[in-house]
């Protein structure tokens, strides 16, 4: 096992420039997918939370979409978007929207009805209620959704290599093709570390926000 790790490290040293460009690509595509999914999922989540009738329906739909495996999503978009970075980005974004959307929905819906009624009764506009009341109170939940999405995207970006999207997945596909475990590890270990870092940092942030509110509430 130790030998394998040392071998993998030597492969990494011998292929540093390829590794760093793949890692950069991986981070770039993950961040872009996450950013787009927040930009789309956050307003969608707020909207569904305010539309009681379609809200539950939309949440169920997106919940069901989450069950589609990431690899399937990647291959499903391929016929339409071809191969390369764009289809990978689209697939990863589709993957990341549901957790952000659902967490936003849940966070906004969890705001106490008395708090919302008081806000309206005091003469706050819908926009003021959203920005000053609902979003601050929903923030821990939203960060939790972003955390789930980030971990999923970082792990799934590995699969982008299958459709020519690049990223650290190229070492895994190559290692698999060559029956060379050490090459696979050069891709797998950094991906695991990146996912872990996202999980820990966003989890810490979520707990900070939640405990801030707990002290407050």
């Amino acid at each position: 096992m130790i030998d394998l790790l040392i071998d993998a490290y030597q492969y990494f040293l011998a292929n540093q420039s390829r590794f760093w460009s793949a890692a950069t690509q991986h981070l770039w595509i993950s961040s872009a997918a996450l950013a787009i999914s927040i930009a789309a999922g956050l307003p969608l989540g707020i909207w569904t939370a305010h539309e009681a009738r379609i809200g539950q329906w939309a949440i169920n739909l997106f919940g069901a979409l989450r069950l589609v495996p990431s690899l399937a999503v990647l291959f499903l978009v391929q016929p339409y978007l071809g191969i390369g970075t764009t289809p990978a980005l689209v697939a990863l974004t589709l993957l990341a929207i549901p957790p952000v959307l659902i967490a936003t929905y849940a966070g906004v819906r969890s705001v106490d009805s008395g708090v919302r009624e008081a806000a309206r009764g005091m003469g706050m506009t819908a926009g003021q209620i959203l920005w000053r009341v609902e979003l601050p109170l929903a923030l821990p939940s939203i960060v939790g959704g972003v955390r789930t999405a980030a971990v999923e995207v970082i792990a799934s970006a590995t699969l982008a290599a299958f459709i020519g999207g690049g990223g650290l997945g190229i070492f895994i596909t190559r290692g698999y093709a060559l029956f060379d475990t050490r090459i696979m590890l050069v891709g797998a270990i950094p991906v695991a570390l990146l996912a872990l870092m996202a999980e820990l940092s966003l989890g810490w942030m979520q707990r900070r926000l939640a405990s801030g509110l707990d002290a407050a509430t």
Partner: protein, 326 residues
């Protein structure tokens, strides 16, 4: 001039056949404390929420100071009306001072004026100024509702709407806050519309009781008048109007003396106990009975102004009772 005029106000919720509020008309005078009383589902909360347009009437209109409530934007209207609800609705992520400052900030008061107002309000509701930086969850239920009251009073509205504000509090805290509210009302003379289903609370606070049933007003009069002449059996049952002690608790020693003419006779036979004009007749009766049924002197500013005997109490009761059922 009447501050609030409701004119054939009706609210039918979507999907309902029976209106929650059905062609209700009434007038509330400036500075009056009106309690909306009735069983749950009678429409009292719906009626209240139409005044600050949290519900829009299906038909009819509301005039506030002669101006149709619908002629101003709803948000603007609400900023001029104090609003207190049962769950307090305090914002959990904001401190007490930030909560109190909400409406003044919406009205774009300058910082200094808001700061001064927060101190003033904390003093008014008898909370220590050190609470400014605390969060609502760190306060007791009664303290939270004091903040709710301060927040509603923040921009000094002339009209206050209160929706079962003390409903979630224990009996002792509720009684204390009722006292506070009466004290504040004596100072500020707001026009108050207060919803409750607690009969004792209603009798205690109201200048006039607006009693509702199934979306309509059954009776709208002073507590004493409603108790003396309930409009129908529903009101009689609701208020337990035959309860003599309840009626006595609404009358004072001064009321009994006023109708009786001050007695010159002094009760000097070793009586230690005295009554004050402000005592309720219920309290007076208890003390008269405790003294063996003999008359007790009433003392105001060190002067003996009359006396209360079982007879004075009985005649005061008869005078305020025109239509007691047999």
């Amino acid at each position: 001039m009447a501050l609030i005029v409701a004119d054939r106000l009706t609210k039918t919720f979507p999907g309902e056949t029976r209106p929650a509020v059905d062609q209700v008309s009434f007038e509330v005078k400036q500075g009056e404390f009106v309690v909306l009383l009735g069983p749950s589902g009678c429409g009292k909360t719906t009626l209240l929420k139409m005044i600050n347009r949290l519900y829009e009437p299906t038909a009819g209109r509301i005039l506030i100071d002669g101006v149709d409530a619908r002629s101003v934007p709803a948000t603007e209207l609400r900023r001029r009306i104090g609003y207190v609800i049962q769950q307090t609705g305090l914002f959990p992520h904001l401190t007490i001072e930030q909560n109190i400052a909400i409406v003044p900030q919406l009205l774009k008061w300058d910082r200094r004026r808001i700061e001064a107002r927060i101190d003033e309000l904390l003093d008014l509701v008898e909370l220590p100024r050190s609470y400014r930086k605390r969060y609502p969850r760190q306060l007791s239920g009664g303290e939270q509702q004091r903040v709710g009251l301060a927040r509603a009073l923040a921009a000094d509205p002339t009209l206050m709407l209160m929706d079962e504000p003390f409903g979630a509090l224990d009996a002792i805290t509720r009684a204390r806050l009722q006292d506070e509210l009466l004290r504040i009302q004596q100072r500020l003379h707001k026009t108050i519309l207060f919803v409750t289903h607690d009969v004792d609370e209603a009798l205690r606070l109201a200048d006039r009781l607006l009693i509702m049933r199934a979306g309509r007003i059954v009776q709208f009069d002073t507590p004493l008048a409603v108790l003396a002449e309930p409009a129908d059996d529903f009101v009689r049952d609701l208020l337990d109007a035959d309860d003599v002690l309840r009626r006595l608790s609404l009358l004072t020693v001064a009321d009994a003396l006023a109708g009786n003419g001050a007695s010159e006779r002094l009760a000097e036979n070793g009586v230690q106990e005295t009554l004050k004009p402000g005592d309720t007749l219920r309290e007076a009766l208890i003390r008269v009975l405790r003294a063996g049924g003999q008359a007790l002197p009433v003392v105001a500013d060190g002067q003996n102004v009359g006396e209360i005997s079982p007879d004075t109490i009985a005649s005061a009761l008869t005078r305020t009772t025109h239509a007691l059922p047999d």
